[in-house]
């Protein structure tokens, strides 16, 4: 109840929120100026390499004087902050906030690489790759929660998908392995669906049960078989496919269109899911079941069936995301290898406001910080990578608290439906 009323409050941009955001923008401008600009000597240069490692494309490095660039960034942020305070960007507030946030990160990188060089293209490419499992996990969450079933078992489903993909992939081939991973995710999702829809178990507890079970069964079977018989844990990997024409686009091509099928699948699923959710009858029904099941039921929509279908589809998606770890990334299953990515996927879903493209943006942002944290050592900057890696979690909490903007969840999310 409280959530709904506060959400409604934030819908119109209130003057307080406008001012708070304006001040945040000004603070960013000040930070860029005082943290970065003031600590640099004049004449230092920043070098960005524009081609990721392993690509044949040839692009000259981007070399520029660090100080003027930083001043421009600080100035732009200042202007944005001033305008926000005076007039307000209204609908475009979040966009501007994102842009200024991006400028802050860019300034930070420019400052950190002053007098050195950084492979910008490589950083962005690895951010995209790291966003893949997060986005697939988040889309699994979107599918389940849009129909009103909370899925915190994404982690468990992904782990199971990774395991089954590796095992079946080793026994047959990677394509059947991938299919088996997808089905395994669906099977766990079916268990979640039965527990939460039929038995009306608390959905968070049901999800926790599945997470514990998935952790146990994958580690158990892995210790029992995969470690003993190495040939059962050698599925191989999907090879990289270069998309003709698109991969030749300068800068963007090697970053976006030179990957294995999992990255392309993310592009396709993003579009498919968005279209399905917002432009088809099925999507409208699913969303109505998630928002107001009783009304949907009155109109003749089968609430239970709709939920079963969405949750199991979500399980397929999570299983597919899990297969990425074994068949798309390392080519081998290790115990607990998803390492909490399912939970970050859940966070990306919330951050992305329960919609596919939002989830993808959040996934990219989290992936970027992950990629950046592994580069911190090279940059020799005083921020420890552990602190850097806290960012996605902190950001999620801030978003959830509604300081910067509130995400709006499906109204009936987490409530079992009782037919009268």
């Amino acid at each position: 109840m409280t959530t709904n009323t506060t959400t409604a409050k934030y819908k119109q941009t209130s003057p307080t929120r406008r001012r708070v955001l304006g001040i945040i923008l000004l603070v960013i401008a000040a930070l860029i100026y005082f943290l970065f600009t003031r600590t640099l000597e004049t004449g230092v240069q920043t070098t960005y390499r524009m081609v990721p490692g392993g690509s044949e494309q040839e692009l000259p490095n981007w070399v520029f004087n660090s100080l003027p660039m930083l001043n421009v960034m600080a100035g732009l942020s200042l202007v944005a902050g001033g305008y926000q305070l005076a007039r307000g960007f209204n609908k475009r507030t979040n966009l501007v906030l994102g842009l200024v946030g991006g400028m802050f990160i860019f300034s930070f990188l420019t400052w950190a690489t002053a007098d050195g060089s950084l492979n910008l293209a490589g950083l962005l490419r690895s951010a995209l790759v790291k966003a893949v499992p997060l986005t697939l996990g988040a889309m699994s969450g979107v599918l389940c929660e849009r129909s009103g079933v909370v899925n915190i078992a994404i982690e468990g489903m992904m782990l199971t998908g990774a395991f089954v993909g590796a095992l079946v992939g080793s026994l047959t081939n990677i394509y059947i392995g991938l299919l088996a991973a997808v089905l395994a995710g669906g099977l766990l999702a079916a268990a979640l669906a039965v527990l939460s829809i039929k038995y009306k178990t608390d959905q968070i507890i049901a999800g926790t049960v599945i997470n514990i079970f998935a952790t146990g069964i994958t580690s158990f079977l892995s210790a029992r078989f995969l470690q003993k018989y190495q040939h059962l844990n050698d599925p191989g990997r999907f090879s990289t496919i270069k998309i003709p024409i698109l991969s030749d686009i300068p800068f963007i091509g090697p970053i976006m269109f030179h990957h294995n099928i999992f990255v392309y699948a993310v592009y396709i699923f993003l579009i498919l899911l968005t279209v399905a959710l917002y432009y088809t009858r099925w999507g409208l029904r699913t969303r109505s079941v998630g928002e107001h099941p009783k009304a949907a039921d009155t109109l003749g929509i089968n609430v239970f069936r709709t939920r079963y279908i969405s949750v199991i589809l979500g399980g397929f998606m999570a299983g597919f995301g899990g297969a990425y770890f074994t068949l798309g990334s390392v080519g081998r299953f290790d115990e607990l290898m998803t390492a909490g990515r399912g939970f970050i996927g859940l966070a990306a879903m919330i951050f992305g406001n329960w919609n596919p493209f939002g989830s993808f943006s959040a996934g990219l942002l989290f992936g970027f910080f992950d990629a950046l944290a592994s580069k911190m050592a090279i940059l020799k900057v005083a921020i420890p990578s552990e602190i850097m890696l806290m960012f996605p979690y902190l950001a999620t909490m801030v978003i959830l608290a509604g300081v910067i903007g509130r995400s709006q969840m499906p109204a009936a999310d987490g409530t079992p439906y009782e037919k009268e």
Partner: protein, 416 residues
């Protein structure tokens, strides 16, 4: 009077039947049957994943069943020996009378109690949250932070007598964990941000933070690995026996804390407020109870209890802080709080059960070669049956219970 007597009379006539009916309705029966069913399914899993069983099936069907049953039996035998002790060895050791051998024979039992101790604290943390309608998944993180603050207090305070140093270190753990519970509590109470997400996030922040601390401020200056210096001897919890028995006073502290939580929840006005907010937040608000304050304080207390679990591990068992030292006490605690129906007594009993399972499983892995992860599977199965009692009631054809007043309910995603 006569009517009453008549009633008692009819009761006497069908005492057996009525007893059976009551047993059938009771939630304790469901709990016991859930554990039993979980163990049976676990044994089945062991049998199904044993290669020898399939070879035996090639000989004959009966041989296959026999081999499967013996595989399951030897697993649980190893589990029992690992958690309680091998009765044969105990009798032999007592006959010979060598002190160290006796200690060694009894060691599995005491070690199980040592493992149960953090489970009691962590289980109480989750249970307290459940009673207030809060799902604290962040126990693991609070436990880490509690351990870190305890270690800080136990290393950097020097020259104190144990009678002062031990309580101070415990308190430090309570405060550290409490702080980690305070943040999601505050966010829940003031902004409605769901505690499940926030505590999961706080978990990861805690892991990163303790990683950072162990590579920086808390790292043992003399070592190269991310491990803290050993804590001062004055901050160690008292051990009752000589090595190898690690049984320490923490177990009794845990029991005492469980008693305190019981008093708090069921014998004080404030505990009544807590439970009312959990059972019926709108009713509580209507009755003039301060939900904001209750939520925050409950999360602080819950986090503090989790912090005590960390403090207990550091002060009683490890005597230093290492990366990933907890390995899932906080997550198991969710299962055991549910198993104990979020009642302190239930929590203590299930914590002891979990402690025996976990300690036995370590030995089982060594002697029978069954991976320790089987206990996660057992936990998940048991928990599933507890959470959906309808499954157990259908399998065993139990009667539907009368309305269960003591059932703990949680709010959905969006809070209440």
């Amino acid at each position: 009077m006569s009517e009453k007597e008549k009633k008692q009379d009819t009761k006497k006539k069908n005492a057996g039947k009525i007893f059976l009916e009551e047993v059938s309705k009771s939630s304790l029966t469901v709990t016991i049957l859930a554990i039993f069913t979980g163990l049976v399914l676990g044994g089945l899993l062991v049998a199904v994943t044993t290669v020898e069983v399939y070879q035996a099936f090639d000989i004959s069907f009966w041989e296959g069943i026999k081999t499967g049953a013996s595989a399951a039996w030897s697993t649980y035998e190893a589990l029992f020996y690992g958690s309680v002790g091998n009765p044969g060895k105990i009798i032999d050791a007592i006959k010979v009378g060598e002190a160290e051998d006796i200690r060694r024979a009894f060691n599995p039992f005491f070690d199980s109690l040592v493992v149960s101790t953090p489970y009691i604290f962590a289980g109480l943390a989750v249970a307290l949250g459940f009673r207030v309608g809060l799902f604290n998944i962040g126990v693991e993180g609070q436990l880490y932070i509690g351990a870190a603050t305890t270690v800080a207090a136990a290393i950097f305070l020097k020259g104190l007598p144990a009678i002062v140093h031990v309580p101070i270190s415990l308190l430090a753990g309570f405060i550290g964990g409490g702080l980690w519970g305070f943040v999601p509590g505050l966010l829940k109470a003031t902004t409605g941000g769901h505690e499940v997400i926030n505590t999961i996030m706080m978990n990861y922040i805690a892991f990163r933070l303790s990683e950072f601390l162990l590579r920086g401020p808390l790292k043992n200056p003399e070592g190269f690995t991310p491990v803290s210096a050993p804590i001062e001897e004055s901050a160690q919890l008292f051990r009752f026996f000589k090595s190898p028995i690690r049984f320490h006073i923490g177990f009794f502290i845990a029991l005492f804390v469980a008693y305190l939580v019981y008093l708090l929840l069921f014998k004080t006005t404030w505990g009544f407020t807590l439970r009312t907010v959990g059972a019926n937040p709108r009713g509580a608000k209507y009755a003039g109870m301060n939900i904001t304050r209750t939520t925050i304080l409950a999360m602080v207390l819950s986090g503090g209890l989790a912090g005590l679990a960390g403090a207990n591990e550091v002060m009683g068992v490890n005597h230093n802080l290492a990366l990933a030292f907890s390995s899932g006490y906080g997550f198991d605690a969710i299962a055991l709080a549910l198993l104990g129906n979020s009642h302190p007594v239930g929590v203590v009993l299930s914590a002891i059960l979990f402690g025996f399972l976990r300690n036995g499983a370590i030995q089982m892995q060594l002697s029978a070669g069954i991976p320790i992860d089987i206990i996660s599977i057992l936990q998940a199965l048991i928990l599933a049956f507890i959470a959906a009692p309808a499954i157990i009631r259908t399998i065993y054809r139990l009667k539907e219970p009368d309305i269960d007043i003591d059932k703990v309910t949680l709010g959905g995603w969006g809070g209440n």
